[in-house]
Symmetry: C2
Subunit: 307 residues, 2 copies
C-alpha cells in the first residue's frame, strides 16, 4: 500500500457526477465506484453485470447504490457510463448504451487494449462516438469480482486515456477528473502507443507466466516440484492466477501486438540459448549484466517516483 495521502484536490467537496452507471461491477468497476462514492464525487451509482450473485455482493458491500436488472435500466438517466466488463462483451453493451442512455451521457471504458475497443465503439455509437473516452487504469491484481474491490486500488497508479481527434474536450475533462479523484495519475497517449506498451509490460508477462505454469505441470516429479516452487516460482507466476476470460479477451483484442511481442520474446530467448550453447562466458555475463542494469534502473525510476 502507498504511504501517500489520497489526493482528492479540486474534487474534494464536489459531486461532479449525478448518476454513474457501472456495467461490470468487478475488481475495476467496483473499485472505481467505491472510490468515487467514498470521496463524495458521485450521487448515485447503478450497477449491472452478468452475475446476480456478484451484483448482490457489490450492493451489500456498498460499491453500488442500485442493482439493475438490465443494461437499459442501469444506463437510464446516467451522466457517465463506465464499461468495466471483459472486452468481449463491449460491442453488445455499446449497442444498448446507444439505444437507452441519455444523448449527453459520457461513455468510458477500462479495457486493457484500446485500438480494438475504439473501432467497435466508433461503429456501435455512431454520432455519439465523440462522447466516448477510451481509458485504461493500469492497476489491478490477480483477484477478480466485487469481493476484491478496493476504493484505494487506483491511488498513485497510472490511468491512461487515449482520446481521439474527435473526442469531446468536456467528456475528456470529466473522465480525467474521475480518475484523478480516485487517486490515479493520468497519462494521455495514442491508442497504438498504449497497446504496444501494455503488450510489453503486461500482456507478454502474462503470456510468459501462463507458459511457465503450463510447463511446470508437464514435468515429472510433481511433489518435489510443488515443494520447491514455494519460493520464487510462486511469485513469478502470480499473474497466472488472473481471470481466464478476461485474459482470453485481452490476448485476442490486442492480438497483433501480443503476437509480435511473443515472437520477439522467443527471439530474445534464442539469443540467450546461443550464448549458453556456445559457452560464451563473456557474452553471457554481459547479457545478464545488461538486463540487471536495466532492471535496477527501472527499480530506481519507481522509487524516485514514489518520493
Amino acid at each position: 500500500m502507498s504511504l501517500h495521502p489520497v489526493t482528492v484536490s479540486e474534487s474534494k467537496d464536489t459531486t461532479f457526477i449525478e448518476h454513474l452507471a457501472v456495467l461490470g461491477v468487478g475488481l475495476i468497476g467496483g473499485s472505481l465506484a467505491a472510490s468515487l462514492k467514498k470521496r463524495d464525487c458521485v450521487k448515485h451509482v447503478s450497477g449491472y453485470g452478468r452475475s446476480q450473485a456478484n451484483l448482490t455482493l457489490a450492493s451489500r458491500l456498498g460499491l453500488i447504490d442500485k442493482v439493475s436488472n438490465s443494461v437499459e435500466e442501469a444506463v437510464r438517466g446516467a451522466d457517465v457510463v463506465l464499461i468495466a466488463s471483459p472486452i468481449g462483451a463491449i460491442g453488445e453493451l455499446l449497442d444498448e448504451i446507444r439505444q437507452h442512455a441519455p444523448k449527453k451521457a459520457i461513455v468510458t471504458d477500462v479495457g486493457s487494449a484500446k485500438a480494438g475497443v475504439i473501432a467497435i465503439a466508433e461503429s456501435a455509437l455512431g454520432d455519439r462516438f465523440p462522447l466516448f473516452v477510451p481509458g485504461h487504469p493500469v492497476a489491478g491484481s490477480e483477484r477478480s469480482g466485487a469481493s476484491a474491490a478496493d476504493p484505494e486500488l487506483f491511488v498513485d497508479h497510472w490511468a491512461v486515456l487515449t482520446p481521439l481527434n474527435e473526442t469531446d474536450p468536456d467528456a475528456l475533462r470529466i473522465v480525467r477528473r474521475m480518475w484523478e479523484a480516485a487517486g490515479a495519475k493520468v497519462k494521455m497517449m495514442t491508442p497504438e502507443a498504449h497497446d504496444r506498451l501494455l503488450a510489453m509490460i503486461s500482456h507478454l508477462p502474462h503470456a510468459t507466466a501462463y507458459g511457465l505454469t503450463m510447463q511446470l505441470a508437464r514435468q515429472d516429479g510433481r511433489d518435489d516440484l510443488f515443494d520447491l516452487a514455494a519460493g520464487g516460482f510462486l511469485d513469478i507466476t502470480r499473474i497466472a492466477s488472473s481471470d481466464p476470460v478476461m485474459w482470453r479477451d485481452i490476448f485476442i483484442d490486442n492480438r497483433d501486438e501480443v503476437l509480435s511481442l511473443i515472437a520477439e520474446h522467443k527471439n530474445v530467448l534464442s539469443e540467450l540459448e546461443a550464448l549458453i550453447e556456445t559457452r560464451d562466458l563473456a557474452g553471457l555475463e554481459g547479457w545478464c549484466a545488461e538486463a540487471k542494469r536495466i532492471r535496477d534502473r527501472l527499480a530506481k525510476h519507481v522509487s524516485d517516483q514514489e518520493l
Copy 2:
C-alpha cells in the same frame, strides 16, 4: 518473514562443528555462517573470498570470526569446508582443499546445479570424494554479498542434498544437521532430478525475467514504459537484478537442462501463439484456465505447507 519459531531442536545447546571454513562469504555463505554462529553450532568460522572489502565487511558484521588471506589459510584445521562461491570457481577451490584441508574434512557446496559440480569434485578430490556432500539451499534473493546476509535466510526453506552411493553417511549426517540447525527443511534427491527441477522452477524463470527486461529496453517510448512498468512488470522481473556472474555460471553449469527447458518454453509459447493467431476463443480460455488451476493449486500447496 515466517511466522514460525526457529527450529533448532537437537542442535540447540551443541556445538557440532569446531571449525567451519567458508569459501565465498556472500549472501548464502555469509547467511549460513551467521545462522550457525547465532545458534552456537560452530566454534570458529574462517572466511575467504576474492573481494577483500566484502571479507572485511563480513568480519565487521560478525558473520565470520577470521578473515583468511588464502584458501590454504582458511581451510587449515577445518572440520567442514563450505564452498559458497560462484560455480565457475569451484574446480580451483577443490584443488586447494585437497592439498590443504585435513584429510577428514567434510566438504560441501551450495551450487544451483549439481551434476557438473559433482563431476568436478570427483576428479578434483580423488579419494576424498566420499567426504563431499553436494548441496543446494533453495533460498536466496536478488541481492548478493555479505551485506545481504541474514541468519534467518534459510528458515522454513528447503535445502536439497544430492548424495551419491559413495557419499560417507556421517558426512551426510553432519551436513544435514547443519542445514536443519539453520532452520531449513532437508530433501534428498538425485543430482539429475535436482538439476531438471531447478531448471524448471528457477533457471528458466531467470531466463524469462532477463529476456523480458532486455526486450523492454529495446522498445520505443522509454519514459512511458518506465512509468507504467512500475507495477507488475517490476515484480515479475525482480530476479533479473540477480548477480550476472552467478547466473552466467548457473546457465553454463546446468546447460543441458536449461537449454532443454528454454526450447520447451518457446514451444509452449508457440501453443499460445497458435490459439491467438487462429482466434480460438474456447481453446484460449481453456489454456488460461488450466494455467490458473495449476497456479492456484500451487498457491494452496504452499499455504498448506505453512500451516
